[in-house]
């Protein structure tokens, strides 16, 4: 798709320089507690990122930018997390390492196996099982019951279900005609998605509700041939949003805090107002790494990492991150349009929308532009589940960016 003319060395080397400089600054900042493991881990990560970028150009015939953009995002994220808490920073480096490995694994797996579009039932069943597991084994963290514990590791099944549901939607619309012949066949997908949303609502995970619905509506808008269904879906949504506001107290509470966080500055508005202080304090150029007080914000390393970045690296870096997502989303859409296989087209589109919407919801939330719902920024926030699932999604997007040659119907 992109042939030879572009010199990838320049951005790759710039990224390398950025990482090296930022990390040296951080080492200087934490010079008292610096140890060998930290240095080795960090240098390994920088090398891994560099080598992956070189390697990828060799093995893929597809898009060479998306991985580069993502490595820039993870670099900014991990540096900020390391600055907030070196221990978490070390863990994040590990997660990124695993993430990059998973990126290649999912790239190879997804590329070498066929038939992904035929497993609608499997995606549906695995998702439901994961949801049920969360519901029964779930632990309540930060007011949402969306974590389960497996062998000492906590993870968020909804992160995996996000990708599964994109596959679900893609396989449905790829086999649209087949489903249409069945009785009530065209309602299968809507039924499944609403079931997912119901599960998420029970977990009080409002952010994920928003993401699932946005991705679903966008894909439905593009691929549903029965336009009536799109309007019905939108209608149901508006009604249930209004009903949800009046029925569920936690929805009301979010909206109230959004309208006037200063009124609840001591209680439920504390987090968001602390976030606004941080962003305001940073100004356009930031206080400089290590010179601000992002740790005044509770949960700063996950949901509020963006505020911390704005405080210390400046609003211009914040805008830069938003722009990186914008390019990533744009590349994703371009990949989708250029892909000749419908299933891969839908998957690429779904993943791009997922990245775009998810980042919008959390950026808008910490800025108090929209009501705050606690979700992570893909690739930037601290967290294993989010990092791994995002890299898996990226691996799939990488496959979709290539000119595939399957001997099956388009």
């Amino acid at each position: 798709m992109l042939n030879g003319k572009v010199n990838y060395k320049v951005p790759r080397n710039l990224l390398f320089m950025f990482e090296l400089l930022a990390l040296s600054l951080m080492f200087l900042y934490y010079k008292d507690t610096l140890n060998r493991t930290t240095v080795v881990y960090s240098l390994t990560l920088i090398l891994l990122v560099y080598i992956s970028n070189v390697l990828l150009i060799k093995i893929t015939s597809g898009d060479n930018y998306i991985f580069l953009i993502v490595t820039m995002l993870v670099s900014i994220g991990v540096i900020m997390i390391y600055r907030i808490d070196p221990e978490l920073g070390m863990k994040q480096i590990l997660w990124i390492g695993f993430g990059i490995i998973l990126f290649f694994v999912s790239y190879i797996l997804f590329k070498s196996t066929k038939g992904w579009e035929n497993w609608f039932l499997i995606y549906a069943m695995v998702s439901v099982v994961l949801f049920l597991l969360t519901l029964f084994l779930g632990r309540n963290i930060k007011g949402a019951t969306n974590w389960i514990n497996v062998g000492g590791f906590s993870f968020q099944p909804s992160e995996i279900i996000k990708i599964l549901s994109i596959f679900l939607i893609a396989s449905f619309y790829t086999n649209y005609d087949r489903f249409n012949k069945l009785k009530f066949g065209k309602y299968y997908l809507m039924g499944m998605i609403y079931l997912f949303v119901l599960f998420l609502f029970l977990q009080k995970d409002l952010g994920s509700v928003l993401i699932f619905l946005s991705v679903f509506i966008a894909l439905q808008y593009v691929y549903e041939e029965d336009r009536k269904l799109v309007y019905i879906n939108l209608f149901i949504l508006v009604i249930s949003a209004i009903a949800g506001y009046f029925i569920f107290s936690h929805v009301q509470s979010r909206v109230q805090t959004w309208l006037n966080p200063w009124k609840y500055i001591d209680t439920k508005g504390y987090q968001i107002t602390q976030s606004l202080f941080a962003i305001a304090e940073g100004g356009f150029f930031g206080t400089g790494l290590g010179l601000g007080y992002p740790d005044f914000i509770p949960e700063v390393h996950t949901d509020f990492i963006f505020s911390a970045i704005c405080e210390e690296m400046g609003v211009f870096t914040g805008i830069g991150i938003i722009m990186l997502f914008l390019i990533l989303v744009y590349r994703g859409f371009k990949i989708s349009i250029n892909q000749k296989y419908k299933f891969y087209r839908i998957v690429a589109l779904g993943i791009s929308i997922l990245f775009g919407i998810q980042s919008f919801i959390i950026f808008g939330g910490v800025l108090n532009m929209i009501p705050l719902t606690g979700i992570t920024i893909p690739f930037v926030s601290y967290g294993g589940s989010s990092m791994l699932s995002s890299f898996i999604a990226l691996g799939i997007l990488q496959v979709a960016s290539e000119e595939l040659d399957f001997d099956e119907e388009q």
Partner: protein, 472 residues
Amino acid sequence: MKSNNINKEIRRIIVVLVLVCILLVSLVVYLTYFQIFKAETVKMNSYNKRLWINEEKVLRGSILDRNGKILAYSEKEGETYKRIYNYGNLYSHIIGYSYREYGKSGLELKYNNELLNISKSATLNELRNIVLPNTEGNTLKLTIDHHLQEYSRNLLKDKKGAIVAMNPTTGEIYAMVSMPDFNPSKLKEDWSNIVEDENSPLLNRAISGLYQPGSTFKVITSVAAIESGKVGKSYDCSGSTVIDGYVLNDYNKTSHGKIDLTGAFINSCNPYFAEKGIEVGIDKLEEVAQKFYMNKSIPFDLTVKKSSFPNRSNLGKTDIAAASIGQGEVLVTPLHMAMIASAIANKGEMVKPILVKEIISPEGRVIDFNGTEVISQATDLFTANEVKNMMVEVVQRGTGKNARINGVKVAGKTGTAQNPSDKDHAWFIGFAPADNPKIAIAVILEQEGSSGGTAAAPIGRKIILEALNTIN
């Protein structure tokens, strides 16, 4: 058919792409808007802990009087610093207070950055904290004379009102008292009482209390009359006059008989000045009032409320008459009246009032100072002299006799101001010695219920005498 479908699909994909892009770009727009228009206000919220970070690392500077007496200082108490106010209530309105719970007031607020020796840039502060931990703030040296301040406050004990004593030629404030006051070192214990007290002890009456000046305002009306040359005619005062059907009385309805400007000034004849004001005209009155800084912001180390003189276009005759004798819509602060007296004393030149004389670095170097500055040529030398002579007469043989001092020529003007309550405010403004002024004062006793000559002039006398004896 097939390619048609594909085109439709691509068109829809682009619609979704545009929507997602709009969402992301709106974030950039909002973030920029927030940073430019809202960030400054958001930052100043007292819940922003960053505001206090610097404070707790720096030894807040001391505050000294003009002779170097320590009025307020900080000392280390465990991990943090404790602010100590040496003289309890005495400086509650000048120095104010600085508490994490209640915020800041007075000079503690206005000179916070200087006292902490911090610059406005957070980055510079942080860098400084890294390089030089445990820094000290700057010291403020005030123009206040501790002795005169204490003396003045004692004269106002158990009263409501304010006193401002200043040097009429340099603008240095020697004493500034507002009563009732409060004790900044016992704020935690007294806070609820202070806030609920209907006499508002938190209010600094000397700069934030707006009062009708009453007859003290005749100083300005006289300047206007002399400047416009309308002083020749003598006037027959019967103790009251009727303007537009509205009867205007003298204090106690005294009739003064045949008098000229000097006679009217000495006896504070209301009918004379009411009619003189109308004769001079509102435009001239307003012009002179403006030159004396009415309707203007007075530059000062603390925020001064703006005094007001009516300047509506539809002002009636009764309004002009009332304004000429300092009633109706005319409102002034005590500091401003002291400045007006100073301007007459200082050959018509109004000087900027000064409270903070010097800012001294921890190493003892003077890093900034407030110099004398003429802010307005309020009137010419001739007029100033005329008014001064009339003010001397007021004290010699007029309403201000209670301010007379043996061997010192005191110039003064009394005022008894009607106000919404049924008890009059008692005013005295003045300066001395008249030919070589060293001190100018303004005294107001709020709702005292007696005349300026009886209640305020004796206080003015005592302060002038004390100042002349003790300040060199």
